[in-house]
């Protein structure tokens, strides 16, 4: 798995070792897929946004979702933690399981799903009325955790995991908005990590950041991959190539191709994928 992450962004790169199909790889590792998505369809009103998407997302790996704007990338990501429940006109059909449990099954509480599946958004959105420390612990506090020492411990650990601790340890009580853009985004990652989710969804987490901050976020993603399943939507194909093990290419609401990242970028099976990754459209 780690080999994928060293994949050069250039398309002229030598072909990577023989790819193993995701399912076989999961079986080899002795673990089932984190997410198993079957025949997922999403509508917003009468607009059919996602069509018959099926794929498996492997544990402790980075899966990138790429595709042109409006292709359903974010819609796909948001169906993994039931964010569409918040949109009255959204309708989701199909089956998504998280470690074998049906996320959309009868009696499944969407709130509990979201505690297991964390999310980081495109635009950093720390809560403006809270300090740095309060932002990190808010998920725990508002879910009923009261013990101060435990909160402090989780806060420090989350900030360390988000590679932010050293930068903010002296101003934990400062307003979260006083941090720089890149720091705010890492704060949001720390906030998502604090509730100890099993999966981290990231919706273009670095698209609003400068290259240096982007590099930090990418480094962080590679770190987090050792403990978390990460699904990341990105517009930046170099980024997908740098950090992901598998890549899914979406186009017009359909999953066109899903394979190891090196194959998607060096030897795609579909013409549309090739056109997109070589910059012919999108």
């Amino acid at each position: 798995m780690t080999k994928d992450t060293q994949l050069p962004a250039l398309k002229s790169a030598p072909p990577a070792p023989a790819p193993v199909p995701p399912a076989a790889q999961a079986a080899a590792a002795g673990t089932a897929a984190t997410f198993d998505v079957r025949q997922l369809n999403v509508w917003f009103g009468s607009h059919h946004v996602l069509r018959n998407v099926s794929l498996e997302i492997l544990p402790k790996a980075v899966t990138a979702i790429i595709g042109p704007s409006g292709c359903g990338k974010s819609t796909f990501l948001r169906s993994l933690n039931r964010m569409h429940d918040l949109v009255p006109i959204a309708r989701v059909e199909g089956r998504i399981t998280l470690f074998g449990e049906d996320l959309y099954g009868r009696g499944v509480d969407a709130t509990l799903v979201r505690r297991r599946v964390g999310m980081v958004f495109q635009k950093s959105n720390p809560f403006p009325t809270m300090s740095v420390a309060e932002n990190v612990t808010v998920g725990l506090r508002l879910n009923g955790l009261r013990q101060k020492d435990l909160l402090l411990e989780r806060m420090e650990r989350s900030l360390r995991m988000a590679a932010l601790w050293d930068e903010v340890k002296d101003r934990l009580n400062a307003n979260a908005l006083s941090l720089s853009g890149g720091q705010q985004q890492r704060l949001c990652i720390a906030r998502a990590l604090a509730i100890e989710p099993e999966v981290l969804l990231m919706d273009e987490p670095a698209s609003a950041l400068d290259p240096l901050a982007t590099a930090k976020i990418e480094e962080l993603i590679l770190q987090l991959k050792q403990d978390y399943t990460i699904v990341i939507v990105t517009h930046n194909m170099q980024q997908a190539a740098r950090i992901s093990g598998h890549t899914a290419f979406f186009y017009l609401g359909e999953l066109i191709e899903f394979d190891q990242t090196n194959r998607i970028f060096t030897n795609p099976k579909q013409k549309q994928t090739e056109d997109y990754v070589t910059g012919r459209f999108g």
Partner: protein, 284 residues
Amino acid sequence: MNRWYHHWRKIKSSGVSALCLICAVVVIAPLAFVLFDCLKKGASSLDLAFFTQLPNPPGESGGGMANAILGSLTLLGLAGLIGIPVGVLGGIHLSEFGSPRMNWAVRFAADILNGTPSIVWGIVVYALVVLPITGYSAYAAGLALGFMMIPLIIRTTEEMLVLVPNSYREAAFALGIPHWRIVLNIVLKTAGKGIITGILLAAARVAGETAPLLFTALGNDSWSHNLSQPIEALPHKIFIYATSPYGDWVRQAWAGALVLILFVLALNIGVRLMTRGSAPHLAR
């Protein structure tokens, strides 16, 4: 040709600018007149006795409006007990929970109620509460003022909550926080200053209402120890004094008007200072 056109455009521009300036002055002028007049006629009657003593009988000079000032504050408190919880919770419902159809009905009702003349509130409370239940009382007057506050607070609360960017709600939902917690600890907190602003403006608005009090509070010349008895209020006292034939009372009415307008002005200035502080929260 071109040059002439350019000149004509300049003339039009300055004409419209001048018109705007005149309208702006028309807005400010009444406030200046009212303040100036109240100051001129009322300031001389403002003394410690005005704030601390009960009214004297007609013909006797001196005395004050202490009971009316305290009464007004009492009525504002009672009105707030009704208007603030109902208004704020109603506004939360509109912004966070309501279905579109229900929201339309509530907004429509609130807007109609906002435009309802205050004398109508007085008559309604008189007919439905004063006559059958309470008699003239502080409770009835507080109820009338409280009902007037509800539509004002509902609408401002809703507007403030709608201003809270959805990205905060999404972030909170994505943390698996229950909906009611999100509303209480994140959305309300973010909009907090705006909502308090709305409450203060509503209070300022009803503080000067007189018509509903005629039917409910009745007024008196002593301290009010019992809220189920008639109570005096500043605007009502001003009305009684200003229309009386006694020179001393009329002077005190001017002083009362000055106090009332300064109170409303202070509330508004307080609101300005507060909203200046809250701007960065929402301006992101």
